[in-house]
Amino acid sequence: MSRMWAIVEREMRRFRRSPILIVVSMVFPLVQLIVLGYAFGGNVKHLKLAIVDQDHSLPAVRVRELAQAVSAGAHTLDLIDYADEGQAVTDLRNGRINGVLTIPPDFSRRVLRKDAPNVALIADNTDNVVSAAMAASLTSMLAAYGAPPTMVRRPAAAALDIVEVYPYIPYIQYLLPGSIVMSIFMMVMIGGGIIFIDDKARGLHEGYLVTPITKLELIAGFNVSGTIKAVLAGFVIMLIGSLIAGVPNPFDGFRIMRLAVVIVITAFALISMMFLLMVRVSDPLMPRAIFGVLNTVLYFPSGAVYPQQGFPAWMQAIAVVDPFTYAVHAFKSLLLKNTGFDAISGDLLYLFVFSTVAMTAATLLFKRTL
């Protein structure tokens, strides 16, 4: 096995001297994390909410006071009074306001009789995120109301399915597990696949193949070095990303150890997949061409940016075999919920089986000659 270490040594020395490679494979996932995280995950603020008070009684005034408190405090809402609900809905359609809260004429009567008092939120469902954020903030506001009136949501536009984006944890934290997997994948792609095929095309492998190194030593050398590079990338992004996303208590030793296990097995699973895809390829364009496609096909169905429950069946089918799915789930459990190994044992098992199958197939396909 000392010959295998010669290959690993060579790869690591080259790696240290090509900082561009390191930077690229780490900067991209971080940039994506920050841009996507802030673009989609920022708390939505200053939503213009029309209030149509058709009741004008004391209980209705109380609702408006609560709304004003939200407006003054978290700045989620800016309130505008409307006398006419019809006018308010027209403005909503035109996009001048983001929602209409109607306090119906029988509101105070029902409050006094404790007879299921209602307020209505008319929201623009063509913008899921805004309407969900507004509904969420009004729901919690009404919870503060002594005997909470229920809120009825009525779609203003033609019926559209409402999909809730998780508004409850910061979106940037939600994205972080996917970014870690992405950084591992980038390094596997660039530091593993592309360099492997470029070396092959330049004839560097000919140099190896005329030495007495065995097939298994060669394969182990390529994959161990690829795994080391990918683990480094994953670890760095895990730490930096945790700080950027504000994951609570990011340097908890036990959690970092558990995360390290997931990073290593994920790196190995992705290297095995890459090696299987590349073992018979010799054209340097090939890994570059499949890079983007593979990235899209693996990253998005994994639940890294959006919950899988919202996917159509065919995409859920991809998600089932996608190693990203299990890696993302494992990182999510550890980073966002701080669970132990029992919560992720299924993920680890899948990644292990996936690696074993891919690596075995690649080994069988690997040729010791040109």
Binding site: S2, R3, W5, A6, I7, E9, R10, R13, R14, R17, S18, K200, A201, R202, G203, L204, E206, G207, Y208, L209, V210, T211, P212, I213, S282, D283, P284, T369, L370
Partner: protein, 330 residues
């Protein structure tokens, strides 16, 4: 004397294209043996079979007494190989390149240190040993690879077009280093080239390969002597008479005379006789000879004789690939 390399009726087909077509030869221990042929002749394919990179379609080859198919591992331990492409690691230093390969060959640490020092001295790269290879010229990189190929003290050394793409000075340097290394250790060298002068200067024996077949094999001198003599005389005269080319054509041995103003180019089957007769004719006619050169047979002529075409012409034919994905050396 035992043979370092023995090739018997070796064949390599890619699909239904035959790249190497039943080649047989033997290389004695200590020889520098050259495979000379144009691009696409099958030189690299032949060498790749000998160094265990490609399995032969038919035939056998023994290197250092081991069968290249059934005893590939023993063959690999006995040989050093410089592939046609530049394969040193650009990011690594000269010394690191050698160290990695010494480790791949399992050379013990103390031997390794001593050998690497000796080899770097032989290829005159000692003061560059800590430089990254990417900062070196093509000729220096080639020398790094030559040292790298010898880092485990192989008995047989294969070099595939080691000087292609190098400038004339670097080429000469590579030849001198190979000769020096050869004089210092027991080594058999098999080298491929499409340079006639390289084969002529460096090799004890040459095999001319064309279209996958071996068309001639002998020492450069014997090869040149083996073909009908064609000498070329080039002479210029001060104010030759107008019928001078007709008179030159009458001289013994002359086949053809071509005139460019006062310069005459004569092809002759007997250089010495033609030269003597021409000088006498000039003296008799009171024509002053201002310059004279006689060119004897070259390996070019040998090549033309055996393949029916000039090597420099065949070099123009682009070979489809050296290897389908090989990036050609600059």
């Amino acid at each position: 004397m035992t043979n370092a390399i023995e090739v018997r009726e070796i064949v390599k087909r890619f699909g239904n294209f035959t790249a190497v077509d039943g080649v047989s030869f033997a290389v004695e221990e200590g020889e520098i043996f050259g495979l000379l042929g144009p691009n696409g002749a099958g030189k690299s394919t032949l060498i790749r079979m000998l160094v265990t990179l490609l399995p032969p379609t038919a035939g056998t080859a023994l290197v250092s007494g081991f069968n290249v198919v059934t005893q590939a591992d023993q063959v690999r331990r006995a040989i050093g190989v410089i592939p046609q492409a530049m394969t040193s690691d650009l990011e690594l230093s000269v010394e690191e390149n050698l160290i990695i390969y010494a480790k791949l060959y399992g050379v013990p640490r103390d031997t390794r240190t001593r050998l690497i020092h000796e080899l770097l001295e032989s290829v005159e790269l000692l003061q560059w040993k800590d430089k990254q290879v990417k900062h070196l010229s093509g000729g220096m990189r080639r020398r790094v690879e030559i040292a790298r190929g010898l880092v485990h003290e192989p008995r047989v050394f294969f070099l595939d077009e080691p000087t292609t793409g190098l400038d004339p000075v670097s080429r000469t340097a590579v030849w001198e280093m190979l000769q020096r290394i050869k004089s210092q250790r027991k080594l058999t060298i098999l080298i491929t080239t499409h340079y006639m002068d390289e084969a002529d200067r460096l090799c004890d024996r040459i095999a001319i390969v064309d279209h996958g077949k071996l068309v001639a094999l002998d020492s450069p001198l014997t090869l040149k002597a083996s073909i009908p003599v064609t000498n070329v005389l080039e002479a210029s005269f001060a104010a030759p008479p107008s019928d001078w080319d007709a008179r030159l054509r009458q001289l013994p041995g002359v086949d053809q005379v071509v005139r460019h103003e006062n310069v005459f180019r004569l092809s002759s089957g007997n250089g010495p006789a033609t030269t003597l007769a021409m000088m006498e004719a000039a003296a008799a006619a009171h024509v002053t000879v201002t310059s004279l050169s006689v060119q004897s047979t070259t390996l070019d002529d040998v090549f033309v004789h055996y393949t029916g075409r000039a090597l420099r012409d065949t070099l123009q034919e682009a070979s489809v690939t050296d290897s389908p994905f090989m990036i050609r050396r600059r």
